[in-house]
Symmetry: C2
Subunit: 200 residues, 2 copies
C-alpha cells in the first residue's frame, strides 16, 4: 500500500511538473509514467484517464498553494487586510521568480495555464478550474470586506473587485511568461496595487 | 497566383479559427488542410512548419485587430484619452460576447491563448507574441501620456500602468473563458476602470 500510494503521488507530481513546464497536450501518459517510474498499468489503475489525473493534479496544487504556497503566506491575519493583498501579489512575484531560477524560464500559473489551454475543450476540467478560481476570489473578497469594515477601503462591489484582482494577478503572470521575465511582475503588481490603494 | 494566394489565406484563416476554438497542440496540419481544403503539399509550400504558419496567423490577427477589431475602434481620437481605454475594455467585452454567441463558448484571446500555451516551449513564437503585447502596451501608454498631458490623470509611471492595464485585460478574458461567460468580463472591467479613474 505504501509503495502504491507513493506511485500515485509520483504520477501526480510528475504530471504537475511536466504540464507546468510545457503544456497539457504536449505531455503524454507515456512520458508521465517514465518520469514517475511507474508502469502504464499502474497509471491506469490509479487514473482511468488523463482527465482524471488532471483533476487530481489540480487538487494537489491547490492544497499546496493553501498549505505552504503564496496563498497561505499572504492571507495570515497578522497584518491589515489591504497589506495581505499586497503580500499576495509580492509573494506571487517572488514565487514566479524562484521558479524561473529553478527552471530557467517563466512557466506561469499552474491553474492559469490549464484554464487557458483546456477550458474550451473539456467541460469537466473547466468547471474544476472555475471552482478553484472562485475559491481564490472568495479569499480575496473576504479580505476586501474586512478592509471596508475597518475603514481602509471605501464601500465598493467587493465581489467584482475580488474577481478583478484575481484576473489582474493572472494577467501579470501571463505577461511575465510571455516576456520570460518574472521581474516584470513586480513592476506591474506595484502599478496595480497603487491603483487599488488610490481607490481606497 | 490568385488561387494560390487564396489557398494561403484559407490555411491562415482555418488555423486561426481552429487554434482559437481548441488549442495549438490539439490541432494538426492534417486537420488545418482539410478545413482549408488544400493538399498537404500546398501547405508545406507556403509554410515549412507549423511554427511558420503560427507566425503568419499571429500577424494576420494583429492586422485584423488594428484595422477593424477592438483595438482599432477603441483608440480613435474622437473621445478623451481615458474614455478610449474604457472603450478598449468595453469593446473587448462585446467582442468576446459576440464570439461566444457564434461559437457557443468563450474561446479567449487569440494572443493570450497562444502565449499561455507556447511561451515556455517555443522561443520564436514567444518573442513574436511578446512583440505584439509590447505594441499593444505602447498604444495604451501613449494614451495615458496624453491623459496626463491634458490633466485627466495624475503623473504616474505610464509604462508600468500600460502594461498593468494590458495584463488586466488578458486576465479578465482568461477568467471569462474559465467561467465560460463573457458577461463576467464587463463586471470585472467596470471594477478595473473604476480603480483607474479613482487613481486619476
Amino acid at each position: 500500500m505504501g509503495r502504491n500510494s507513493d506511485a500515485k503521488q509520483r504520477i501526480i507530481d510528475s504530471a504537475a511538473e511536466l504540464f507546468h513546464s510545457r503544456s497539457y497536450a504536449n505531455v503524454g501518459v507515456q512520458e508521465i509514467c517514465e518520469k514517475a517510474n511507474v508502469k502504464k498499468g499502474s497509471f491506469y489503475h490509479f487514473f482511468p484517464s488523463k482527465r482524471d489525473l488532471t483533476l487530481a493534479v489540480i487538487d494537489h496544487i491547490w492544497l499546496y498553494y493553501n498549505r505552504e504556497g503564496p496563498v497561505a503566506k499572504a492571507f495570515g491575519k497578522d497584518v491589515p487586510p489591504l497589506k495581505r493583498i499586497e503580500r499576495f501579489f509580492l509573494g506571487s512575484c517572488e514565487f514566479q521568480a524562484q521558479l524561473q531560477k529553478e527552471k530557467g524560464k517563466v512557466c506561469g500559473c499552474h491553474f492559469g495555464n490549464l484554464a487557458s489551454e483546456i477550458s474550451s475543450q473539456d467541460e469537466v476540467i473547466r468547471k474544476k478550474l472555475d471552482e478553484i478560481f472562485s475559491a481564490q476570489a472568495d479569499v480575496i473578497e473576504n479580505t476586501l470586506v474586512e478592509a471596508v469594515a475597518v475603514g481602509d477601503l471605501r464601500e465598493i462591489d467587493t465581489k467584482a473587485a475580488a474577481n478583478a484582482i484575481l484576473a489582474f494577478m493572472q494577467g501579470i503572470i501571463l505577461m511575465a511568461k510571455t516576456r520570460n521575465d518574472a521581474r516584470l511582475m513586480r513592476k506591474m503588481a506595484k502599478a496595480g496595487i497603487d491603483m487599488i490603494y488610490q481607490s481606497g
